[in-house]
C-alpha cells in the first residue's frame, strides 16, 4: 500500500471518529431543542460516516483493484474533510 493510500485510510478512520463525536453532540442537541437544523446536521454527518467508511475500505483493502494514481486525490479529500470536521467540531462544542 502506497503512502497516499495509507494516509487516506488513516484520515478516513479519524474522520469517522470525529463524525461519531459530532453525531453524539447533535443527538444531544436534538433531544433538547428539536431544532430542524440539527436534524439536518445529523443527516449530513451520517452520510459522511458512510462515505468515509467506503473510502477507508477502498484505500485500505481494495487498493490493488483501483489505479494507484488516484490515491493522492483520495488522500487530499480525506485531509480536507478532516480540516472541515475539526472546524465544525470546534464551533459545535
Amino acid at each position: 500500500m502506497d503512502v497516499y493510500a495509507t494516509a487516506a485510510t488513516g484520515m478516513s478512520l479519524v474522520n469517522i471518529v470525529l463524525l461519531g463525536g459530532l453525531l453524539y453532540l447533535y443527538a444531544r442537541m436534538v433531544s433538547k431543542t428539536h431544532a430542524g437544523y440539527t436534524y439536518g446536521l445529523m443527516i449530513f454527518s451520517g452520510l459522511l460516516v458512510a462515505q468515509n467508511s467506503g473510502m477507508a475500505y477502498l484505500c485500505g483493502f481494495l487498493n490493488e483493484y483501483y489505479n494507484w494514481q488516484l490515491s493522492p486525490y483520495f488522500a487530499a479529500v480525506a485531509v480536507l474533510e478532516f480540516g472541515g470536521l475539526l472546524v465544525l467540531l470546534r464551533i459545535t462544542v
Partner: protein, 188 residues
C-alpha cells in the same frame, strides 16, 4: 424567542462533556464495532466471489461487418480468483467461433450456445472469430491480489467490507433524523 433560544444554547453548551471525552467515547464505540468485524472477516473465506464469471455476448447482427459491435464488451478485464472465468454467449442467428490468437482455446457456438474458459495466468489474451475474421476481442487477466497486502487477501478474493456496523449506525441515524425532520415539518 431569540433570548430563549440563546439561553437554551448556553444550557446545552454547559451540559456538554469535554470534547476529548466525546472523541474517546466515539473512538471506543467505533473500534468496538470495527475490530470484531475485521477479525471475523479475516477468517472468512470469500467463496461466492471466487466463482464469479465475466460474461461476453456475441451480439445480434455480429455476422454483419457494418454492425459495429461484435463481442460485447470487446475488451474486458478479469482478476484471477475473482472473475477469471469468461462465458461467451452467442446471441446472433448464425454460428460464430471464439478462437484464441495463441490457439490455447477454441470453440464453435451455434445460436444460443455458450462457451466457457477459465484463465489461470495473468496477461492479455486476444481472440477472434475464424468465420467472421472482422470479429475480434481481448481479455486482460490480472493476477490475484498478493497475500502481503492484507491478511484477508490470502483467500484470493475481494476482502469483505469491515465497517458494516459503523455504516449501519450511520444509516440508522440518517433515517431517524430524516423521519423526525419530516414529522416536525408536517406538524408545522
Amino acid at each position: 424567542m431569540a433570548a430563549r433560544n440563546k439561553a437554551a444554547s448556553v444550557r446545552i453548551k454547559r451540559r456538554l462533556p469535554p470534547p476529548l471525552v466525546i472523541v474517546l467515547i466515539a473512538s471506543l464505540a467505533a473500534l468496538s464495532v470495527a475490530i470484531p468485524a475485521a477479525i471475523a472477516q479475516g477468517t472468512t473465506t470469500v467463496g461466492t466471489i471466487n466463482t464469479g464469471v465475466a460474461n461476453v455476448s456475441i451480439v445480434s447482427g455480429a455476422q454483419n461487418p457494418n454492425n459495429g459491435v461484435f463481442y460485447s464488451p470487446a475488451s474486458i478485464t478479469v482478476v484471477i480468483g475473482v472473475n477469471n472465468t469468461v462465458v461467451w454467449t452467442n446471441h446472433d442467428t448464425t454460428n460464430h467461433t471464439v478462437v484464441a490468437v495463441d490457439n490455447s482455446y477454441s470453440d464453435t457456438l451455434a445460436p444460443g450456445q455458450t462457451f466457457t474458459h477459465t484463465y489461470t495466468t495473468a496477461g492479455v489474451y486476444n481472440y477472434h472469430c475464424t468465420i467472421h475474421t472482422f470479429m475480434m476481442g481481448s481479455v486482460k487477466v490480472l493476477a490475484a491480489p498478493s497475500s502481503s497486502t492484507t491478511s484477508t487477501s490470502s483467500s484470493g478474493g475481494i476482502p469483505e467490507f469491515p465497517f458494516e456496523g459503523v455504516v449501519v449506525i450511520a444509516v440508522t441515524a440518517v433515517v431517524l433524523a430524516s423521519y423526525l425532520l419530516v414529522r416536525q415539518t408536517r406538524r408545522g
